[in-house]
Amino acid sequence: MKQNVVKSIAFAAICMILGILIALQMKNVNNDNLTENNLAALQNRLIDVAKKNEELTERNNSLYELVQLLEDDMATGNDQVQAIIAEKERAAIFAGLREVRNYGIEIQISCNPDMKVSATILRSFINELRGIGAQALAVNDERIVAMSEIRDSGDNIVINGNAMIARSRFTIKAITNPENERYIVDYLMDMRDTIANSIQYESYQYDIQINVMPEMTIPALSEQSTAFKIDLLMQN
């Protein structure tokens, strides 16, 4: 009888140890699925969020200072109004409502006189210039903003509601960072070569010239432009 009890206890103990060992083994198996790549991805994400937090903290501090200035009874009304005007001006520059100038890149595009320049080509350059950090853009001195439309329409290309003859030379202007000049010019040259070598555009015989301009002026876009559908935007 006593022997049976000892046997049962031993049996239970072995089963328990076996269970624990299997569990530990399972844990190791799970660890096997983890790789250095997981860690690297996590670290990248961590750096990304840390950077965003740092930036947001700075933004909140600046906002807090502005709120304090606006709340400050001691500040003269003039200081506060000047701060608001400065804020309005920044928004206007960002929106494309101010004529601006600086160093930039000019791209001239023309094609075989029997063909018409395609709006797709203009849009491609505009998209890529945006992607490489252009701060202001214009096509044939028509300011391009987020809601600008560039489309083919018969013999014309319509930009912000204005028709331009598609068989003419188009000039894109972009104010970009001079520090990135080499990268930007090489990038645009690659793009030009891709278009020149493309079967799709073979018959167009595009002539695309890329020039660095020490100074250029990009006009403002009027609030009445079709790119700004103010009635729709302010309906509520």
Binding site: V49, E71, V81, R90, A91, F94, R98, N102, Q135, L232
Partner: protein, 247 residues
């Protein structure tokens, strides 16, 4: 053999033998893996630590975002109060209009909700046309602009002058955010014109054909709400090279 197993004592011995065998095997396997997996355990500990750090950082990010929203709201209220009390109603109206044109305010009205999504069950090796690329989003925006859209957002991100869409692996970056499918574009404008422009587009019709199965769904709405650009207080880096010629 049947008779042997039938005896309880022998059956116990066989069971005990099997149990001891698996016990021995597990112990050996564990001892072996303890040595081999020391590095893996360190890696797992480091990953767990980073996950915990990330959780804390993301919590902090959410708090900072809330704080930013509150400060922005407070700033706008104070500006309005101040300009009205000082008799600068005209400046207030100009400021409001400029902010609307810059995309710094929420806008609402009739429009469409356009959903672009990868083919259900897409796997590597399938037709590349079955997934949404940055060029598809740009194409959709061009079509909608042509149909008179006044404002856009993609997955909650307002499209403004500083916005750029770029493929990064299987995601698309917009306003410094990585977006993944489905891509939901809100477009403010005439819902009928906007949805017809999408429905009649040859490229999207081709991409929806059986075998490619890209998802393109335009839903008309009487009221959509397009959020304000989330970084309207952080635009300096988008305008720092622009010298104003005429205010």
């Amino acid at each position: 053999m049947g008779q042997v197993l039938a005896r309880p004592k022998n059956r116990q011995r066989v069971l005990l033998f099997i149990l001891m065998l698996s016990f021995g095997w597990t112990v050996m396997s564990h001892i072996t893996s303890v040595g081999v997996s020391q590095d893996r355990r360190d890696l797992a500990d480091r990953i767990r630590q980073r996950q915990e750090d990330l959780r804390l950082y993301e919590e902090q990010h959410a708090i900072l975002l809330r704080e930013n929203e509150q400060l922005q709201q407070k700033k706008e209220e104070l500006i309005q109060e101040l300009l009205i009390s000082e008799g600068h109603e005209e400046l207030l109206a100009t400021l409001e209009r400029v902010r609307v044109l810059a995309g710094f305010t929420e806008v609402s009205g009739p429009g469409i909700i356009l959903t672009l999504d990868d083919k259900p069950g897409f796997k590597i090796g399938d037709n590349e046309d079955s997934i949404v690329h940055d060029t598809d989003l740009k194409h959709a925006l061009d079509i909608l602009l042509g149909a008179g859209a006044a404002a856009f957002s993609i997955n909650g991100n307002r499209l403004v002058n500083a916005s750029d869409l770029k493929c990064i692996g299987l995601t698309i970056r917009c306003n410094q955010q990585r977006l993944s499918p489905p891509y939901v574009i809100l477009a403010l404008g005439d819902p009928i014109r906007l949805s017809e422009a999408i429905e009649h587009d040859q490229t999207f019709n081709f991409r929806q054909m059986p075998g490619i199965d890209l998802i393109v769904r335009a839903q008309k709405s009487d009221r959509i709400v397009i959020p304000a650009y989330a970084e309207s207080d952080n635009i300096e880096r988008f305008i720092d090279m622009l010298e104003v010629v005429s205010p």
